[in-house]
């Protein structure tokens, strides 16, 4: 394991795992912009079925299509969580009735444990920046998906620590732009990603 933080995107056999290709660079840029965390300048794509996925403390998983882990993926995800890793899953459909939500939550329940609402005063929301809950995205009410503002994130917790974080906020769309474009924003909408990374790296 290297000493620098490497942003890892999880590749799984089913579905479109690569639906937010610019997000990793944007998050890396954000981490460097706000913290002194040593971070690799590029992210990596790591197959869930490959043991090397266990090297990364935070795994980002997204997509639109059904999520069906194969046996190797399921086994590794369980090992990853058992070892204290944080799996961040974002529903690119932002649709609680959508197939990604249904299949991914079901797969997590089958592999790890059922997801439950994460309280909005959870330490995740104050790990670096202060939030009153999961920041709203501009995509939640864009006419697609369920057109809901999702009040909570879902999570599986192990010994008081988040093991799996599930979002219907569609951060995959919200953060999927070239980091150079960040200068046009009045408020940086990727700041919550700092909390995610800091939370994953600390206790």
């Amino acid at each position: 394991m290297t000493s620098e933080f490497v942003f890892a995107t999880a590749q799984y056999e089913s579905g479109d795992w690569d639906s937010a290709p610019l997000l990793p660079a944007n998050i890396i840029d954000t981490i460097a912009r706000y913290t002194e965390i040593t971070v690799a300048p590029t992210g990596v794509v790591v197959p869930l079925s490959d043991d090397r996925m266990l090297r990364y403390p935070l795994l980002y998983l997204t997509g639109h299509l059904p999520v069906r882990f194969n046996e190797a993926e399921r086994r590794n995800v369980k090992r990853f969580v058992d070892r204290g890793g944080l799996l961040f899953i974002d529903d690119h459909n932002h649709d609680i009735d959508g197939t990604f939500h249904k299949t991914a939550t079901e797969e997590i329940a089958r592999t790890i444990a059922p997801l439950a609402e994460l309280p909005n005063d959870h330490p995740l929301y104050s790990a670096f920046f202060k939030f009153d809950g999961p920041p709203t995205t501009s995509h939640e009410l864009n006419g697609w998906g369920d057109n809901l503002v999702h009040k909570h994130l879902l999570a599986v917790q192990r010994a008081g620590k988040i093991a799996v974080l599930f979002s219907n906020k569609d951060y995959s769309s919200e953060w999927n732009y070239h980091p150079e474009s960040k200068r046009f924003l009045t408020v940086d909408n990727t700041r919550f990603a700092v909390n995610l990374v800091v939370y994953a790296l600390t206790a």
Partner: protein, 669 residues
């Protein structure tokens, strides 16, 4: 008849006495020292067998009472005045011979005889009954109907200062949906029960002052009929319950057993398919099994349509059944026409079964998913055949072969033609070779992500690649993705590996054209043949298409470092400890407990139980070894306990590290 009844009663009486005697003896032994349930059941079986054998033996001995001849002789013996009339009548079958004989005379003798034989055994049975009556309450009951949990029935003369936590009994009642019966455990210390079960811990005496502590919860004991009880519910997490009575305490480790979700196998369709048209029916079949019973099972399908960011989904179920059995097979038929599929649509099919777990479930099991994709119109070569030229590599092969033939002909004609003609012809071939090299170069540079026709700008540039290694170095530079785990290849990316033959051909062509420029076709030919071989290798090379590689953006971390407008704080958080630190703490704890075994075995068992509860979640093998160790320690099996503890220690340490060779001196492996 009277005699027969009397003798039968005697046999039964002695048999009953044998049973009662053994039961009384066992009860007295049990009073002295409690006998285990298995021992008491064995003794009861022996007592019953002894009674039956006794009765059967006596009945066999007295079997002649059923013989008329023997009975007639027995009567004749006692009444000689009959002068064998009775015996003769029985023997000849002529009752008239004994018609003058009055039976009243010997009936009274038979009755007296019957009473006399019955009297001793029944007197003995009466005495045994009195003994049973005067024995303490419950003593005989424990022998008569031995069962788990009757430890509380055993008479005790303990004082009020004694612990009310011994004996201890636990009744485990599984959730109603399982249909399983309540089981009872004597002296529980390590209880495995389904999540949602209730555990009623019972003991003798009033419940005042007895409390069960689980985590931060405290549960007071209730009293009923002179016995206390505490009811606990089995949660999803392992827990240690500490039951306290004044200065006494007992620890019960509760290990939850999870109701497993159904196991579902999709039998048909057996594999993913691509269909040309959305027509026909697909037979669906699946097997499902569950540890307690399947409440419902069905096939689920999802139809996904669209691409890119715009997907639409439809879903439904088929073949729903409610088998209420441990194993079932479900069948259905999926009509593709009814789904209204369009080209490019994908149907995801799987079987799903739910169990009847209404406590922590329902447990949902699903099969692997099969996909049926409807092909797009443009993906069939056989349908849309269009004339196309050969690939770039193919064209290069043809051209290089032609150039080699031209060069060979020129070399062959060299002695016969003038020097000027030779130079002119050679330079003509060199020009064609140069053109061909540019084509190959365009192929390579396009693949490597460079601009097509790059070579045009550096025809004579000193920066051009002089060697293949130089070119590969450039290629590596152009495709610098060494941080990507997909590219694990021991230093050579697949992009470079695929292009290596073409790069080799490119360089060989360069050398060939240089030789041709100075009118040396003979020296150019080896280079040209090398180029041809390399192109052929490129044609035969395996194509690797990397799916879904996102466009790569390399962040200039140093440039943007701390340039954000907002400031956050992370003052209260500390770095995560390494995964192994928890194991090290556990090893230290385990070592301390093992040291305690010699000094205070009961305390060590309690500590091991708590350690086992902590380890159940993440180290089940270690927890199982601890369980075996505590059981062996309770039974006083020192060797087995030591073996289990050693195994637990090995499991904590993990797999031994295998190395190919010895480590260097002074280097800690």
């Amino acid at each position: 008849m009277i005699l027969a009844i009397g003798l039968a009663l005697r046999a039964a009486g002695w048999g009953l006495l044998a049973v009662m005697t053994l039961i009384i003896g066992s009860a007295l032994a049990d009073l002295a020292a409690p006998l285990p349930v298995a021992t008491r059941m064995t003794l009861l079986a022996i007592a019953i067998a002894a009674g039956l054998v006794t009765a059967a033996t006596l009945a066999w001995r007295d079997r002649y009472v059923l013989s008329l001849e023997r009975v007639a002789l027995w009567i004749e013996e006692r009444f000689p005045s009959l002068e064998f009339a009775l015996a003769t009548a029985v023997e000849t079958g002529a009752p008239a011979i004994a018609s003058n004989v009055a039976p009243e005379s010997w009936r009274a003798t038979a009755v007296r005889r019957a009473i006399r034989v019955v009297r001793p055994p029944f007197a003995a049975v009466l005495v045994a009954g009195v003994i049973i009556f005067v024995l303490p309450s419950g003593a005989v009951a424990r022998m008569r109907t031995p069962h788990r949990g009757d430890a509380l029935d055993r008479p005790s003369r303990s004082s009020s200062a004694a612990s009310r936590l011994t004996p201890l009994v636990a009744d485990i009642t599984p959730p109603a949906y399982t249909g399983q019966r309540t089981t009872t455990v004597d002296e529980p210390s390590d209880v495995r029960a389904l999540v949602g079960s209730t555990i009623a811990v019972r003991g003798r005496g009033a419940g005042s002052g007895i409390v069960a502590r689980r985590g931060t919860d405290s549960i007071l004991a209730a009293t009923e009929n002179g016995r206390w009880s505490i009811t606990l519910r089995v949660d999803a997490r392992p827990t240690a319950v500490r039951i306290v009575d004044r200065g006494f305490q007992r620890i019960i480790a509760i290990e939850p057993v999870t109701d497993l979700p159904p196991i579902v196998s999709l039998l048909t369709p057996a594999r993913d398919s691509v269909l040309r048209t959305p027509m026909g029916r697909i037979a669906l079949s699946a097997d499902a099994s569950d540890d307690f019973g399947i409440a419902s099972a069905a096939f689920e399908y999802i139809v996904s349509s669209g691409e890119g960011e715009n997907f639409k989904f439809r879903s439904g179920t088929l073949g729903a059944t409610q088998p209420n059995a441990r194993r079932t097979t479900i069948n259905a038929s999926l009509s593709l026409e009814s789904l209204g599929l369009n080209p490019g649509d994908i149907v995801h099919i799987r079987a799903v079964a739910r169990d009847g777990n209404n406590v922590s479930g329902p447990g949902i099991g699903s099969s692997e998913t099969r996909t049926i994709r409807i092909a797009r119109h443009d993906e069939y070569d056989s349908v849309a055949v269009e004339a196309a030229g050969p690939s770039d590599e193919e064209k290069s092969v043809i051209s290089e072969r032609m150039l080699i033939m031209l060069a060979e002909a020129l070399e062959k004609a060299r002695p016969r033609i003038a020097r000027d003609s030779l130079v002119s012809e050679a330079r003509s071939i060199a020009a064609d070779q140069k053109r061909l090299r540019r084509t190959v170069g365009e192929v390579v540079f396009t693949r490597l992500g460079g601009e097509s026709g790059e070579e045009h700008s550096d025809e004579d540039s000193p920066a051009r690649a002089k060697t293949m290694q130089d070119m590969l170095a450039r290629a590596d530079s152009a495709t610098n993705r060494s941080t990507d785990p997909i590219d694990f290849g021991g230093g050579e990316s697949p992009v470079v590996a695929i292009n290596k033959p073409l790069l080799e051909a490119y360089n060989a062509m360069w050398d060939a054209s240089t030789e041709l420029e100075i009118a040396e076709p003979g020296r150019a030919l080896p280079h040209m043949r090398r180029a041809l071989a390399a192109i052929q290798r490129a044609r035969a090379a395996e194509r690797v298409y990397l799916r879904g590689r996102p466009p790569e953006v390399v962040v200039d971390v140093n440039k943007v470092r701390l340039q954000g407008k907002d400031k956050g704080t992370s003052s209260v958080r500390r770095p995560n400890s390494a995964a192994d630190s928890a194991t090290l703490r556990r090893i230290e704890r385990f070592t301390n407990i093992v040291e305690l075994v010699g000094r205070d075995a009961p305390a060590a068992i309690d500590s091991l139980l708590i350690l086992r509860i902590d380890a159940l979640g993440d180290a089940p093998s270690f927890a199982a070894a601890i369980g075996e160790a505590t059981n062996a320690m309770r039974r006083g099996q020192s060797a087995a306990a030591t073996e289990a503890l050693a195994r637990a220690r090995r499991l904590l340490a993990g797999e031994p590290i295998a190395r190919d060779s010895l480590a260097r001196w002074g280097v800690v492996p």
